[in-house]
Every structure is written in structure tokens, then in C-alpha cells.
């Protein structure tokens, strides 16, 4: 409940403040968002599995973001930033889908 409230508050703050992203952070933000979405779905699945742990959730959330940003940074330095970003998005997308499938099985038994 508080999580949904937090999500809504975050969206509202973003809409009201309308911040500009620093140029150095611009390549990392989209990947970080996708990584955080992955962590969120993983947490929801863990919750339904009954094994949700806030410490693990926080760690996975942060490490997901950091690793994704680091991979993009490394790709930029190696000159394959675009390709690595695509790779990260694909992998995270697959994980989101598998987590979503797991959540669906939990909720709908199908």
C-alpha cells in the first residue's frame, strides 16, 4: 500500500518539479529505470512467494541500478554503448516477463 502510494508520490513530484537531467547522467537513466522495474517485479514475485525480505529487496534494487549503469558506462568507454544498452534492456526485459509470468501464476493459477 505504502509502495503504491510512494509510486504515485514519485510520479507527482516528477511532474511538478520537472527536473532536467544532467548531461552526464542522461545515458544511464533509461537503463537504471528498466533495472529498477526488474527489481520491483522481482520483489512483487518474492512477496507472493512469501519470501519477501526488505534487505534483499533494497540490495537488489540498488545493485541492479548500479550494475546496469556500470555496464552502460563500460560500453560507452569501449565504443559499444548502444549495443550494450540494448543487451541490458533485452536481458532485463526477459527477466521482467518471467517474473510477470510467475506473478500471474500465483494470482490466477494459470
Amino acid at each position: 500500500m505504502i509502495a503504491i502510494l510512494g509510486l504515485v508520490i514519485g510520479v507527482l513530484v516528477g511532474l511538478v518539479v520537472q527536473p532536467t537531467v544532467p548531461v552526464e547522467l542522461q545515458p544511464y537513466l533509461p537503463i537504471a529505470v528498466v533495472a529498477a522495474l526488474d527489481a520491483l517485479f522481482g520483489g512483487l514475485r518474492a512477496l507472493l512467494d512469501g519470501i519477501f525480505d526488505d534487505r534483499v529487496f533494497l540490495t537488489s534494487f540498488m545493485s541492479n541500478i548500479l550494475v546496469a549503469a556500470f555496464i552502460v558506462f563500460l560500453g560507452d568507454q569501449l565504443g559499444v554503448g548502444t549495443q550494450l544498452s540494448t543487451a541490458v534492456v533485452v536481458v532485463l526485459g526477459i527477466r521482467i516477463f518471467s517474473n510477470a509470468a510467475s506473478i500471474r501464476r500465483h494470482l490466477f493459477k494459470a
Binding site: 505504502i2 514519485g10 510520479v11 526488505d54 529487496f57 533494497l58
Partner: protein, 254 residues
Amino acid sequence: MSDEGYDERPGAPGPTGWAALRSAMRPRVTRAQVLAGVLCAALGFAVVVQVRMANDSDLSRLSQDDLVRLLDETSTRAEALQQAAVELERERDDLLSGSDSRQAALDAARRNAAMQGILSGRLPAEGPGVRIALSDPDRQVRPVTMLNMLEELRNAGAEAIQVQDLRVTASSAFTGAPGAIQLDGVTLEPPYVWQVIGDPATIATALEIPGGALAYVRNDGGTGRVDQVEKVSVTALREVPDPQYATLAPPAVP
């Protein structure tokens, strides 16, 4: 695959999904709930920012190669447009100067045509001049006297001349006999009235000099009167025949 807050323990019995969800939805201020709320707030914030940025500028998402290509295309297009602009400007200048010189030529031709038309008797004319009335009660005035008059008028700078209702031009001729003077084959009836355009004072003086044109008329038994007029109208016109033998010489080759 052992993160996201769950362990792979297949078959682990737990509360059913909906029950777990319901218990999670109950607002409780536990560490886990607050933490999830904070993280979700951060996620929502980031999503909104990213969406706005992605909408703002498509350029920032392009790779360096794409940007270089885009820049190349843009500068090539700009160059082409600039060249087109230069060409159009030159064409406009050409047209402007061309119309100017054409206008000048047209004006000159028009002035020329007016001058030639007055001289050759094709166009009516008006201006300051004199009106001469020659009476010939005895019908003794000879054609040569009239010719003398005409010569004197030309010497005095007459520009357009009309006798009775006949235009006098370069090819005009006084013929016939005293009392039956013919101008270009048309018999004139006295009194002979001349309409002359030119400097009135000069013409009047020239006609009055001793031994001049009016003296000739008086010798023939006629009388003449010269009126200086502000505005004389020479309205008689003359058909100029097309040259039968002469043609325009081709322009000299430089």
C-alpha cells in the same frame, strides 16, 4: 538468478497469492513497507523524468555516428539552399537591371518616335509659335514667294508648319501659278494662313527683316500679318509612304 528478494525454493508452501497481496496492501508502517514506498517513489520519479526527456529531445538518444550523419545532411542541405539563394538573387538582379535598361531603351524609342513623328508630319503638335495670315487680293503671290516664306521659317527654327489644313514637311513642294498656288498638288485659296510652331520672337523677327519673306509678299502685291501666339496647334497630319526602294541598311559589323 538468486536476487530480487526471493530464493529459488520450488514448491515452498506459502499463503496463496491473493492473501499475500491483501496482507501486503494493508497499510502498516513496517520497515519493509516504508522501504518499498521510498524505492517506488524514486522509481516513479525517474520514470517521469526519463519519459519527459525522451519526449524532449530525440537527438540525445542518437549515437555519435547518427549525429555526424545528421550534421552532414544538414550542412549539405544548407549549402544547397545557400547556393540556390545566391542563384535566385543573381537572377533577380539580372531581371531588375534588364528591365531598367529595357525601360530606358523603350523611353528613348518613344521620345525618338515622337520627334520623328512631329518632323515627318505623322503626329499632331502644339506649342508656342506664330500665326501668319497672307492676303492676296490680286492673286499675284507666286509659289516661289511661298517657298521663300517656308525657307525663312525653317531657318528661324520652325519645328512644325501647317498651311491652311495641309501639313508642311521636308518633301512638301509649292507648285502651280500665281493665284493658283498648289501645295503638294492641292490648290490653296487665299488668304494663306500658316500655323508655325517655334520660337515666336525669332520667327517674327526673321520674317520682318528688310528684303525678307514678308517683303517678297509685299512685292507680289500681297500683305502679311504675323501674330505671336502662346499656343499654336498643328493638327493636320500627313501619310508617310513606306519607302519603295530604300531598305534599312544592316548594322555595321564591329
